[in-house]
């Protein structure tokens, strides 16, 4: 399941919705990405732009690939867009499996792929200036390791 939304998400509620009434899940991993004030108290806000239509398409494709690679009982990607403040949630990834290794690997894979393929762009506002966040080379390397 994938969702792109401006509203915040509730990790506990999302997990409950995925696991409720099931007894085949042994391991559940969540990853939450948050707006971090990387400049030590100077980032006032962040604007998340995306490519409507392509975003959903890419996230669905990434999720489908994770489900092909690992035996998942459930998976979820939620990504927020619009204006966010330091400490706010940005992205939630949930993976559930019978065993922990699959759940951990699938969540890590989803984040690595999302970081390099899903069409989102961050702009940080610092005081009266703003700048587009640069892509990190390490994200490309992290995604490449799943190609082996």
């Amino acid at each position: 399941m994938i969702r792109v939304q401006t509203e915040d998400f509730d990790i506990g509620a999302e997990v409950k919705a995925l696991t409720s009434g099931r007894t085949d899940i042994g391991a559940l991993v969540t990853f939450t990405g948050l707006v971090r004030d990387s400049n030590g108290g100077t980032v006032a806000s962040m604007e998340l732009e995306h490519y409507p239509g392509m975003t959903e398409k890419e996230l669905s494709r990434i999720e489908a690939e994770a489900n092909e690679r690992w035996p998942l009982q459930a998976s979820l990607i939620i990504h927020r867009v619009g204006k966010l403040s330091p400490g706010d949630n940005i992205v939630l990834v949930v993976t559930a499996s019978a065993h922990r290794q699959a759940a951990f690997d699938a969540a890590s894979f989803l984040m690595d792929y999302l970081k390099t393929r899903a069409p989102f762009w961050k702009r940080e506002e610092t005081g009266d200036k703003s700048h587009w966040v640069d892509a990190r080379e390490s994200d490309g390397e992290a995604a490449a390791k799943w190609d082996t």
Partner: protein, 91 residues
Amino acid sequence: MPDVSSKQMKLLYFAWVRERVGCGAEDVELPEGVATVSDVVGWLKGRGPGFAEAFARPELVRAAVDKVHVKPAASIDGAREIAFFPPVTGG
């Protein structure tokens, strides 16, 4: 010989590409001979200073044809929508 109607294209720009170009979306008629994403970039660079600046270093700009990531050499044959944007920074 390519169909004339195939040269009608929707172009989309995101993040700093959008800011430099000065608009987020436009409908254009591509000239004859423009066959790849790279050709589109070459044509766009001649359309004004904003475009020239946005595509000054084409290696910094990524593209998607009909919402699928593509390389500069990708054909635009049959495409309806081409998007240009910086490397993504979500998550």
